[in-house]
Symmetry: C2
Subunit: 339 residues, 2 copies
Amino acid sequence: MSDSSVPTTGVEIRLASRPQGWPTHDNFEVAEAPVPQPESGQLLVRNKVMSVDPYMRGRMSAAKSYVAPFEVGKPLDGGAVGEVVVSASEKFEAGQLVLHSLGWREYALVDESQATTVSDEAPPNAYLSVLGMPGLTAYVGLMDKAEFQEGDTVFVSGAAGAVGSLVGQLAKLNGAKRVIGSAGSAEKVRHLTEDLGFDAAFNYKDGPVAEQLREAAPDGIDVYFDNVGGDHLEAAIGAMNDFGRIAACGAISQYNVTEAQPGPRNMFQFVTKRLSMRGFIVNDNGHRKRDFFEHVAPLVREGKLHYEETTVDGLRNAPEAFLGVLRGDNTGKMIVNVR
Amino acid sequence: MSDSSVPTTGVEIRLASRPQGWPTHDNFEVAEAPVPQPESGQLLVRNKVMSVDPYMRGRMSAAKSYVAPFEVGKPLDGGAVGEVVVSASEKFEAGQLVLHSLGWREYALVDESQATTVSDEAPPNAYLSVLGMPGLTAYVGLMDKAEFQEGDTVFVSGAAGAVGSLVGQLAKLNGAKRVIGSAGSAEKVRHLTEDLGFDAAFNYKDGPVAEQLREAAPDGIDVYFDNVGGDHLEAAIGAMNDFGRIAACGAISQYNVTEAQPGPRNMFQFVTKRLSMRGFIVNDNGHRKRDFFEHVAPLVREGKLHYEETTVDGLRNAPEAFLGVLRGDNTGKMIVNVR
């Protein structure tokens, strides 16, 4: 079961220190670590692609949250797809591609219960984006948390990102009246309306979000999918029609602030307009994976759902890729090709 | 069908001008108006008791909202119970007591479709409080919007008010693990714990709400029933356990501010703790009246649900009673005895 092509050491990226405010390269350490030997029920996986995501910023802090913080001096982790190179499990064999959660390293020792076979119907990357965590996040947030209904006008922030771009397209494909996206560059805005079928989009850096949203949605919005928080959330509450619904998915505008920012000044509109807001985390929604897959996989196969990727080559560049996600350098999912 | 005891004129309270910030007596006018004659399908009702409620502050402003604004120069309106003195309807007869929405006047001309007979099972006042709008508000907010479950720890603000005092008691009667209330005086705090069975209560004027709440609910809260907004809302979000639920009913702390106040600085906790918040208005929830009545009427009959009232005598004192509600002078429901 051993594979003579496995070296004795591999690269891994460790958390060197916890960031205050915006993370920098100094918070990461590129290290060589011994390649472990799988014991019974374990797999040695050589990672091919890995994910960097905004939520990882939260795990760099020590604060207790819904996922355990990364530990200083230890490798980071996160979604990855790799090839089984040594299997000590009866369920997997060498050569198979598996999805697992031990990215940020060349070689991962994965428990068989933590690995999922990926089919070759789609490229490995897709299992980190449209068919993976970002896809399920978009689907659950839009359908379950925001209770999307045909005819809704939908606003999504971070609309050119991995999740946002899928939210807008899923809304259109399911009969939204109008879909509006916000993003952070003219090129992204063009991409949303010209490539992804958004009805309107704006660059939030061009002026107050509330004004730009009012212009893009003169009849108000029924659903807001929040990836951003801050002034986007206040603007969305202000633009909401009666019985509007907010899915709170993320707040990238707040991840690197060192002091708590004032919240929306218009919270009372929750009462007058009977609004609802639900925060959610994709990990709680594993029971929706099957419905999600049945809904989304055909759309991908038929080319109806576009998923963009921004790829960075080399594990050593993963910190830079992650910093880029926080800055908004990516269009669609940011993927690191490990080798 | 005429009643010779009906005078030709009656007192009514009109909106003299729209308040900026806190309303004053100058915003009201006490006037004499001709007593109208009912036409077919109408009733002339002599009001006995009427309601003054915080939500009326919103109607004094011109801003479009979920209920039409009061008109300057016209009488205000709101819940009232009175005796039919002249009936031009086949459905009602003189002498019956009816609940309707034309308070703030001695004599009301009520369409038969807008009147509901009240039984003598409970005093007329009860149909303006525990068996009326505040009762339904408490029931719908706690059970439907906050999805109360046995074993929840519940926090309610404005807890000594008409709605809040019922929320806390309904939670206890339905198996809450712990019920905490906030109010604005030591006497109200005593009333909550000693008379109404709250497990803990605090005076929000005694110190930061967040600190007092943490002390009263060391294991966090699962439900927050918000009557107050402002720093109460931020404190409640901060104290929420995972999957906590907020029913947004009112924001009395914000009704008289002339400039929008910063909102909660911890909105991102909606994501990390998977919180939900639903704003609601009792008028949308008429379909729950039957369930409400079946649940609450026996509790009232058996003396298990206490409802306090603060009464003010005389229609001319209704503006003062209303200003008192905004200041928090009342314990329980503020009722005006019209005569």
